[in-house]
């Protein structure tokens, strides 16, 4: 009885979370151009999508920014975590406080604050400004997932490696990095996802002519969204779903 109730409740929440996604997938096969009507099944939008240069450019920008910002944030964040292991408690607390600012701050405030900075220093808005903004809000995700790994790290292993003749750099890459790798990977993955899904901060830091998928969709909202957009997001969603499923099911099988 209790289990049944629990299952039903989970089911309802699941429907709530995924109903819009299913709607979008259905719309991507809709022959009619408006959202409101079902005009029959078609795969036309999936073919048109690859001919639409504006969408392809936006996709390229989105992926490039997500990849670059996540990678740079991972490097800066991991190095900062390494530094924190040798810091005094008070210094570490200050650094973690600074790290929490972009996490807890409202996106709109983060966005306009960076926009005002660029305006004041006369920096031209474009790809670079979006990238800087994304790195800024991605670093905290990396730090928060790498830092716990450093705390669990057994420090004597590093010292043993140095005693046995490794240089500190060698010891870091051969001993420490493999140990903290899961944290680095999940930090990178979180950062990549956040960058991909961001609209608000990009909205304030982008220049005219440079669009990511989010900003492109936002300008299309008033005119009506192009069905190719539904097709593209369906492709992205389904491929990520398959990848995540494959990655997550594998280790479980091994355990059995």
């Amino acid at each position: 009885m209790k289990k049944c109730l629990q299952r039903t409740y989970m089911g309802i929440i699941f429907i709530f979370l995924y109903a819009p996604i299913i709607t979008l997938i259905v719309l991507s096969f809709n022959k009619s151009k408006t959202r409101a009507k079902w005009g029959g099944f078609t795969t036309k939008w999936y073919i048109d999508l690859f001919k639409n240069r504006a969408i392809m450019q936006a996709l390229y920008n989105t992926l490039a920014i997500a990849l670059l910002s996540a990678a740079i944030a991972t490097v800066i964040g991991t190095i900062a975590c390494l530094a924190m292991t040798r810091m005094k408690k008070r210094d570490r607390a200050i650094l973690m406080g600074i790290t929490n600012i972009p996490m807890l701050n409202a996106d709109i405030v983060t966005g306009i604050s960076i926009m005002l900075l660029f305006i004041s220093f006369g920096i031209k808005f474009g790809f670079g400004t979006i990238l800087i903004a994304h790195i800024t809000f991605n670093i905290p995700y990396v730090i928060l997932s790498v830092n716990p790994r450093f705390k669990q790290l057994n420090h004597s292993i590093y010292e043993a490696a140095v005693d046995l003749g490794c240089t500190p750099v060698q010891a870091f890459f051969r001993v420490v990095v493999p140990d903290i790798m899961p944290g680095i990977l999940s930090g990178f993955f979180m950062a990549f996802t956040m960058s991909l899904d961001d609209f608000v901060i990009t909205h304030f830091t982008k220049g005219p002519g440079v669009d990511t998928l989010s900003t492109k969709i936002y300008t299309e909202v008033k005119k009506g969204i192009k069905p190719e957009m539904y097709a593209l997001s369906t492709i992205i969603f389904v491929s990520v779903f398959i990848i995540l499923l494959a990655v997550n099911l594998k280790p479980e099988k091994k355990e059995k």
Partner: protein, 266 residues
């Protein structure tokens, strides 16, 4: 050992792109377009239209936060108790939707909620009266819950899974019934998660301009919409910054609350 100097790149980055930009908001918020110091940008919050937008935003985001808590807490408990919460499953369920663009997901609710939308058609088939919440505060609340529910569930789930099973068992052995175990053991121990969940839902809900834009029609203006328009349409950065400073007071309060509970936990 000079290892701590490795923090320099991050510190410089944070200084340049987190701290100085926040200072810019304060600078613009406290000056007028000629650069003279003024409080008028901040006091502008008390004008009727701005005050209405602020109160509406506070009201809608409070309702959404409470509903998120009521929906999310049982969900977090189920996830923690069935062991399904261990590892990848939770992440899979809650992070996966983020790969479908946030604007499109929110837009899809329009299709679902419209007068002749999917939900009303379903209700019609079941012989129930149609609902019309699109372009109302109700639709905005729904959009807020939809977008921010994961931020409530994940921290509560984290603090629930940290609770030692033996503590719960001890309470049972000592004669506590289900309600007593929940209210006197589980709930108090999960408070840090609840507080961080509340701030992580309330702040983005309070400051959103996208959800109100997409689901509230163009008639409902929240404080986020007002600020966004000052920056992208009117071009009055000083006023926009002043109003943002008012929002930052709310953010500051929630940051301090989180800090205090964080410290107690540690």
């Amino acid at each position: 050992m000079s290892r701590k100097y490795l923090a320099a790149p991050y510190l410089l980055w944070a200084l340049a792109f987190v701290l100085i930009p926040l200072g810019m908001i304060v600078y613009y918020g406290l000056t007028d377009s000629n650069g003279a110091v003024t409080l008028s940008n901040i006091l502008a919050i008390s004008s009727p239209e701005h005050r209405k937008a602020l109160y509406l935003a506070i009201g809608l985001s409070l309702i959404s936060t409470v509903l998120c808590l009521l929906m999310g807490y049982p969900l977090a408990m189920i996830l923690a108790s069935t062991g399904m919460g261990k590892g990848a499953f939770v992440v899979l369920v809650f992070i996966l939707p983020m790969w479908m663009n946030f604007l499109l997901r929110t837009m899809a609710w329009q299709t679902l909620l419209e007068k002749n939308g999917v939900i009303n058609n379903l209700l019609g088939v079941l012989g129930l009266p149609p609902i019309s919440i699109i372009n109302t505060g109700g639709a905005i609340i729904l959009g807020m819950i939809y977008n921010f529910l994961p931020f409530m569930v994940l921290p509560i789930h984290t603090s629930l899974s940290k609770i030692d099973v033996n503590v719960v068992n001890a309470a049972r052995d000592l004669g506590a019934n289900g309600f007593q175990v929940f209210f006197r053991v589980i709930l108090p121990l999960s408070i840090p998660g609840v507080i961080s969940g509340i701030t992580m839902v309330f702040i983005p809900a309070l400051t959103t301009f996208v959800i109100s834009n997409l689901l509230g029609g163009s008639k409902i203006l929240l404080i986020g919409n007002v600020i966004e328009q000052e920056f992208t349409q009117t071009g009055n950065w000083n006023l926009g910054s002043g109003l943002s400073m008012v929002l930052m007071i709310f953010i500051l309060v929630s940051m301090i609350t989180t800090f205090i509970t964080d410290k107690e936990e540690a």
